[in-house]
């Protein structure tokens, strides 16, 4: 579904990702793990079109999308939940969700999806009139994911969904990720520092170091890989 071929990108004179090639098939959960500053977030921002691609190709269902405007990429079914959630603090919870459905014109479908995210996260329905900035970190993560789902994406890019959350909440968020993948067939590209958790839910994974992919394999293979174990799983 999504294929990156020798992608290079960065900010100013610094090349944050040097050569990334990876493939994500429809219906998969694929994770990208790596240390701080390895280029994980830049990879996602490049896919979403916010960081310009300096070389290589990004193909979505065979169509080159590098250089496309960010709104066209969302229109093609690719939504991102960025690191740090980026809730609009002065918009209400409901308005934040409305913005997720900004590009959609099918009112009935939007209404159904709103009900769907409210069943996933009932707390959001209770808080729908509150400002986004008044939510706790966990609630903001739920809102950020729900907002992305309101675009009804075929593929969801998740950047550090577990960051700063209590263990119980992390568990809940990962359960939802698996459920979305299983029940809705949403393809998921998950960027995580919490490698243990990510490798457990992912079908396959890539390990990123200094802007390059160094290892790839199934979740289980990577979890068993010595290098991955010592560097990312603390074993």
């Amino acid at each position: 579904m999504l294929r990156l071929e020798h992608v290079r990108a960065g900010y100013g004179n610094i090349l944050a990702i040097k050569d990334i090639s990876l493939v994500i098939s429809e219906g998969e959960i694929v994770t990208l793990i790596g240390a701080n500053g390895a280029g994980k977030s830049t990879t996602l921002m490049t896919i979403s079109g916010l960081v310009p691609c300096r070389g290589g190709k990004i193909l979505l269902n065979g169509r080159e999308i590098q250089g496309e405007a960010p709104d066209n990429i969302v229109r093609l079914g690719l939504s991102q939940v960025p690191e740090g959630r980026h809730i609009f603090p002065l918009l209400t919870v409901k308005e934040n969700l409305d913005m997720g459905a900004f590009l959609r014109r099918d009112k009935d479908g939007v209404k159904r999806d709103l009900e769907f995210v409210y069943t996933l996260f009932p707390i959001l329905e209770k808080r729908q009139r509150q400002h986004g900035g008044a939510l706790s970190g966990g609630e903001q993560q739920m809102l950020a994911m729900s907002r992305a789902l309101m675009a009804r994406p075929k593929m969801l890019l998740l950047d550090e969904p577990s960051m700063g959350l209590a263990p119980l909440l992390i568990k809940q968020i990962f359960a939802i990720i698996e459920r979305l993948n299983r029940e809705r067939g949403t393809t998921i590209f998950l960027v995580e520092q919490n490698a243990r958790k990510a490798l457990r839910v992912a079908h396959r994974g890539y390990v990123l170091e200094n802007g390059e992919i160094i290892v790839t394999g199934t979740g289980r293979e990577l979890a068993a890989n010595e290098k991955v174990q010592s560097a990312y799983l603390g074993m």
């Binding site: 079109g49 229109r75 991102q80 002065l90 308005e95 409305d98 913005m99 900004f102 590009l103």
Partner: protein
């Protein structure tokens, strides 16, 4: 007592105009952090457009109501086109540049538009047709409130309520607020941020043009330079209320108008501008972010 009421009405009328123009400053600042110094010129261009259309229609003998409506619409549309174009050619190419660059570009645009109107029209004051008739029912109160005061206040009220509803309830209004709060996230959700910015300029410019028409008809003459002082005053109003805040712009405009009205009415009309800017300095000493503004760390 009657004098006092007259000053209040005069102050509110002035304030309403300042508020109409200040909205354009504050909306643009809220969304891209730029002080659009060419905004006063957009107001002036609105007044000139209204002047041309109204004069032409009056010559052809159209009824007054039709003249007012057509001139108002034409001024709003024409000024909006200018606002849009200014953003496209002077600010958009500088997006992502250091903050000072678009600011200088804005000042350049202001000079350019002033001189353009000076050359295309005239350096002299031109008489603006009286578009607002005297209302009979105001006759007993005519020493307190004039017809044009009433029309200005009513128009401003309608415009503000409409604008508030648009920003609060429509999708584009929500997208404007979202873009102002976090433009990168707005992009990730598929909001075309450039289009939202264009729409903000279009709305702000149309409001300024309506202000231009109302003032010109109230005062009775215009020239190419009227945008300068009006722009500075409205900018002061926006800062006073807290730049970036829409209710702040309205509050700031009204306060400024009332201060000027009372200052000139009770003390001396020679110091009209002194009162306005003294109020600004005073409020900024005690509330640096303006009355309704949020304190921020780094802004130019």
């Amino acid at each position: 007592m009657e004098y006092f009421l007259e000053l209040i009405c005069g102050g509110l009328t002035r304030g309403a105009i300042y508020a109409l123009i200040a909205l354009g400053y504050t909306m643009v600042y809220g969304i891209i952090g730029l002080i659009n110094f060419a905004h006063g010129e957009i107001y002036m261009i609105g007044a000139f457009t209204a002047f041309i259309i109204a004069t032409a229609l009056t010559i052809y003998g159209f009824p007054l109501a039709a003249v007012v409506i057509v001139a108002g619409l034409a001024a709003a549309v024409w000024a909006a086109a200018y606002g849009y174009t200014v953003e496209r050619i002077a600010y958009r190419p500088l997006r992502g540049a250091p903050r000072l660059s678009p600011l200088i570009s804005a000042i350049g645009m202001s000079f350019f538009l002033q001189n353009y109107v000076l050359l295309a029209q005239t350096a002299d004051f031109v008489p603006f047709p009286a578009l607002i008739p005297d209302f009979d029912f105001l006759e007993p109160y005519s020493h307190i409130i004039g017809a044009s005061d009433l029309v200005i206040l009513a128009t401003t009220a309608v415009v503000m309520v409409t604008l508030t509803c648009v920003i609060r309830y429509t999708t584009i209004g929500k997208a404007m607020r979202a873009t102002a709060q976090d433009s990168a996230m707005a992009l990730l959700l598929g909001i075309n941020v450039n289009r939202v910015i264009s729409i903000t300029f279009i709305i702000g410019s149309a409001l300024a043009a309506i202000g231009g028409l109302l003032v010109a008809s109230h005062i009775g003459q215009i020239n190419f330079y009227i945008g300068f002082l009006a722009g500075i005053k409205a900018f002061a109003a926006a800062v006073l209320g807290g730049i970036g805040s829409i209710p702040g712009a309205v509050l700031g405009g009204m306060l400024l108008g009332l201060t000027e009205s009372f200052g000139t009415g009770y003390i001396s009309s020679d110091y009209e501008d002194v009162f306005a800017f003294s109020l600004l300095v005073l409020i900024l000493i005690f509330k640096p972010a303006g009355l309704l503004g949020k304190a921020t760390v780094e802004k130019v």
